[in-house]
Symmetry: C3
Subunit: 296 residues, 3 copies
């Protein structure tokens, strides 16, 4: 009787919903069945696994965008969450398939092609393991070479998230580093802040820099203070303007520019209820830089 | 032994999947990581919470559309469901953050900016509480002013849906009313029905009025009866035509117009396998009205 | 005491997460509330049911596309999974509402309008039952004729997936066959393989044929071998070219064409990091054929 009870008690964690989520990012879109096939594999591993989407609308082959979306999202999920990211122009070639464990306790499953640049930096690398594709590949997928997202990553990520395998069982330890995409770090230069524009908050047109609040604070900003913003593309000035630093969009009139801390606590430029990037013809990525200094 | 058993028994509800869903609507789109960050916060509150999407493709800043989508959806979820809606052009300004409890037992979390107009009317207001942001805000979000969807609404909604807080713990009671967007009520006038066009069923092009079946029944319609439909924009006639009232699209030939009761039991105009709105250049919102009377 | 224990033990399956998933496909899009209304009904049937999306971006009324997406997805979900597919231009007319059980143990719920053509063929028909709409319709939906997805299919699919009804309780057995869309089978003809182009892998522009690896193997292909590909539209040559058969995209230079086995182990044509269909003006569906033979 006691044994039966203990059986019930200790088998509960296996019966109830898994405690770790599996979060997926791809550049597959959701118009076809590819993402649903990945979820089917994950569900087959564990029917109680919480399966969620980051996004599947990543620009095809844009590894930097994928890296930025992970930075924007991962820290808001609890430790133990397993992320899959499949933006993988080199699928089936010699780039390694890895599982990165960060010091924050998150796991990241996918190709080691630069996707992990920003989360590795911000959350810290605890360990990197190569996926042993002999052990961690769905049965019957041996003849499939072009859909690692389904055959290896969804399968392995789901097994890890649901506790079917330990992190050690993923495969052999590699050196604790990942392929990193190069980018310019934000810095204080000649009394002003110099940074890049890693992404446009495209849905609203806000321009996000990579200048964090900690660096911005060196300018000792107070709400209402005015700043000069100069944005350049390939060294040529694309925008120059003065705007107040405010808490939120509605602190300036509709249509007016403003400087603010975005949801990642990086400095951003916006128009209240308008598109700063569209009005000024600005974009993001290689060659786009921003300089911020106190207005004269 | 008995105590252990009772512990197992009574702790089950906490271990198994939550019984209330959290349903999210935003105008963020799903291309970036904002929605996934909200879900991460909700999952962190309760890993067994059922998290679902209404839509994230709401036209940016279009509060009326958000209100209509809630009307289209909420009643089909069971009592206890918690809805978050973040179409919030005034984020961080003085508009209140509230949780509306309707008489139907649903909860609605977000800014009190008109979003709740239609569900408040149709489901009835049971109570309104202001979110106490001291108690109901995710830890570490004090410096973030522009993403209440993540920092306050997802956090509070998830805590309420998972039973981590009671409705009373949301914050202080307000007067039982919400900010309401103005719109014209449907009515019988001079032997015909007068209404508005709150939304196009844009995916198929069907034109939906706000005239409910209960009002339509005053014309004593039978399937096959013919009706005159006149649609105006800012008082100018945009469409005039006679069509039969039928059960479903296939009851008229392909390409023919028809009058029907849509999925909300409101009167609609459609073409069988065609776009009524596109063929006739019709749209929805302010200034668009529909008149329906028996064909002469 | 023992009885209480047994009660706890045997009631666990009802308390914990359901073991079968409900997977939904529609042509509704996700901009409005229709899909969320369907999920609300399903959640109301069973709050622990795993509800997933195949896609809701199916081209409106394109039954063939829906059939192909099911083929692309269903086999990767475990037996017992219940699929709903609502691409239903004839909603409310005399087409039957059925639940197909395949020999693989999957269930398919929706209109019998050709949607099940490919899964019936590939997974095998075990049985077909007509949905008894007297028993299997959500309460209060009697006046609604145009949203079977919500009122009948989501309700019935959720009840079946969660074990609230058995397959027998769906309704009476029909003959074990479904409405099938006509299409040309792949075949070996005059030393070459002749097939159709059922879908473009539109997100990347890869051209997928319906020629399976088992048939392709009759040409005894080895990686690196060269093949002549001729694609015709309505009998007129639209593309002719020689390309190597390789394992994966990166095995040829960027921009070069390649022959490969896609994720369904069907023969496909692609460009490494380019759009084969766009570069060559190719599409899919009726009238598009592909011929593959060893390069001379």
């Amino acid at each position: 009787m006691r044994k039966l009870l203990l059986f019930v008690f200790f088998s509960l964690p296996g019966l109830v919903c898994a405690q770790h989520a599996l979060v997926m990012q791809t550049d597959f879109g959701t118009k076809d069945g590819a993402v649903a096939a990945m979820k089917g594999i994950a569900f087959g591993v564990s029917p109680t696994l919480a399966i969620h989407d980051l996004s599947h609308e990543n620009t095809p082959f844009d590894i930097w965008e994928a890296a930025y979306r992970l930075k924007q999202t991962a820290e808001f999920w609890p430790a133990g969450t397993v992320f899959i990211s499949v933006v993988d122009p080199g699928v089936g070639t010699e780039r390694a398939s890895i599982v990165l464990q960060t010091k924050s306790g998150h796991f990241f499953v996918g190709p080691d092609n630069g996707t992990w640049t920003l989360v590795a930096e911000e959350l810290g690398i605890a360990a990197v393991r190569r996926v042993d594709e002999k052990l961690n590949r769905r049965a019957g997928s041996e003849k499939s070479y072009t859909f690692h997202g389904r055959d290896i990553y969804a399968f392995t990520g789901a097994r890890l998230a649901s506790g079917k395998i330990t992190y050690e069982q993923v495969g052999p330890l590699l050196e604790p580093k990942v392929v990193s995409l190069p980018y310019e770090r934000p810095a204080m230069k000649a009394g002003g802040l110099q940074g890049t524009i890693p992404q446009i908050d495209f849905h609203y047109g806000n321009v996000w820099t990579n200048i964090p609040d900690t660096l911005f604070n060196e300018l000792k900003p107070a709400f209402g203070d005015k700043f000069l913003v100069v944005i350049c593309h390939d060294g040529k000035e694309a925008y120059r303007g003065v705007m107040p630093y405010v808490r939120t969009f509605g602190d300036v009139p509709v249509g007016s520019p403003l400087l603010y801390l975005n949801s990642l606590l990086n400095v951003g430029c916006a128009l209240n209820r308008g598109s700063f990037s569209q009005q000024n013809g600005l974009s993001s990525g290689g060659g786009w830089t921003a300089r911020i200094e106190r207005a004269p």
